[in-house]
Symmetry: C2
Subunit: 329 residues, 2 copies
């Protein structure tokens, strides 16, 4: 009996740029409609108060993408002790449509960064990091103004970018009802920061997935729960679990560990899993992961910037009291 020839493993590598292109086309169309109505060119104020090379690079890259797509991008380099005053000025400045701040700033004191986040006015919070935006996300509340429901509540950019990537990759199954399109999927998210990993785990659980949320302190599982008023995820500690328990169970592995040395253990990844890296470093082992994964997305940054511009148009739209929203979720 002849041995079966193994099917050659072919991993599809999907670049962020491909996915960003679709989102930017949508953004461009909305922008044109706005400009046909005589509305001014949208402007982002971006505050750089650290010298993190990743933040500097991301800022420069954002500026380029903004300007290529018809947005003004005003990069403001400020001393960290003056940042709060500068954000408050931007809150009052009607020429500024949205405010970005590059974190981390107060490295030794992450709660001070959270204080700064809260300084950005809700109406300019293009990053979706103000408490009201975050709380609405956790509670699966889509609008800022119930019951009229004309003003969309914004989602944080990187988590939303990853949702958009999963939609593009058809991990979201459009045969299932909206709001439950990840039902049956098991997803590991390695990173549980308040701006990226935790909101992402909650978003995916709110859409029906079982999500293992991993950080150095351990593993939590986020599942879709049923709250009193709205459907909302539930969180449980998985005592004694570590990432090694989660990887073999996962259809999708999303990693965002900000360290050059961290690598997801390829051997524990299920054959044919979908792997997405949102760290500035490569969390997956380049050549090996392509022998295991069915789809590999090595970075998400370009999608994040496209989502940022989409969020900015939402903010502008939210300020138009009489008109219904022009864009769909």
């Amino acid at each position: 009996m002849a041995e079966a020839t193994p099917v050659p493993k072919t991993c599809k590598v999907v670049m962020a740029e491909t996915i960003a292109k679709n989102l930017l086309a949508e953004v461009k169309q909305t922008l044109e409609e706005m400009q046909n109505k005589g509305m001014p060119q949208p402007q982002l104020a971006a505050f750089l108060a650290n010298d993190d090379p990743h933040a500097v690079k991301y800022a420069e890259w954002s500026k380029k993408t903004c300007e290529e797509n018809g947005f003004k991008f005003d990069l403001r380099t400020v001393d960290k002790e003056l940042l709060e005053d500068e954000i408050m000025s931007a809150n009052q400045d009607s020429a500024v449509d949205g405010t970005i701040v590059y974190y981390p700033i107060f490295q030794s004191n992450p709660t001070h960064d959270k204080y700064i986040q809260e300084t950005v006015a809700l109406s300019k919070d293009v990053e979706g990091l103000c408490h009201t935006h975050l709380q609405n996300m956790y509670y699966n509340v889509r609008f800022l103004d119930p019951p009229a429901n004309l003003k969309k509540s914004l989602l944080p950019c990187t988590p939303l970018a990853i949702v958009k990537i999963l939609e593009y990759l058809q991990i979201y199954n459009s045969i299932l009802p909206y709001g439950n399109r990840l039902f049956g999927k098991t997803i590991t998210v390695i990173n549980r920061s308040e701006v990226n990993g935790r909101p992402l785990a909650a978003l995916l659980a709110n859409d029906g997935a079982t999500v293992y949320s991993v950080d150095i302190t351990g593993v939590q599982v986020f599942t879709r729960g049923q709250g009193i008023k709205q459907p909302r995820h539930q969180v449980l500690d998985k005592e004694g679990w570590s990432v090694e328990n989660c990887l073999p169970l996962s259809d999708v592995i999303i990693s965002g560990v900000p360290s050059e040395n961290y690598k997801v253990n390829t051997e524990l990844i299920r054959d044919g899993a979908v792997c997405i890296n949102f760290s500035s470093y490569r969390n997956f082992d380049g050549p090996a992961i392509k022998e295991k994964a069915s789809i590999y997305v090595p970075s998400v940054g370009k999608v994040t910037i496209a989502v940022l511009l989409r969020n900015l148009l939402r903010l502008i739209d939210n300020r138009q009291p009489s008109e219904p929203p022009k864009t769909e979720s």
Copy 2:
């Protein structure tokens, strides 16, 4: 020539209870006035979502003080994952006048505690930890409703308790104009947490002191600055400084390091300094400090609870739209 007999060193030890008594008398009087008008007994909802023995002890102690002083105190022990929902229910409950949460809860993730703080409605934020209260404190803004200025902005309890202690000890010099009564004083604050040390340093600097703010990452100096709109402190890093540089310069040393092992080096303290401990542990070396300090306050907790009740009456007062505030700052 006969040697001069040294004046015996006598350190005045001032107990928190003594200072709390004055504040509680003021609180009692305001409460009686309210009850004479037929207003209901004020109620605090206190959420305990950790098993930190200090938090448990502080909660029990708060309950006792509240009940002794005519306040309802509803201690609610909740699972940390349900805490957010419970706080939101209390926000909606007109029987609850103020909400306390015992921190830390998410020990491995202090920014999540900050998220929880922000969940408390401003109108129930008796601890003065919501962003609006904190930002007003940093910017030296006293009211929530300028220019009417009928609704007082609350200050966080422990920092305000320490201000009240410094007033009692006459470190605040009432000969100087209000708002500048610490002018000329040098104060070291060992602890720069977002809920205690940092707000305290800002409050003292806003009142005219030079404040060395110390934590494990280094020293910052807070001084009174002049902002565009309001007087506001300025913060500068003191490169290469440590607590050893600050102690010999300080008229007042205030320490709140939550560790059994941490002790302020008595030898470096100036003769006759004023020493205040706000840690649950003794940060000053008991017998030795009394040979150095002119005044020693070994704990502040009872003053903090008195300030909490005072803040609660402010919240209730802020809800009365037609009447001017009944209490003075």
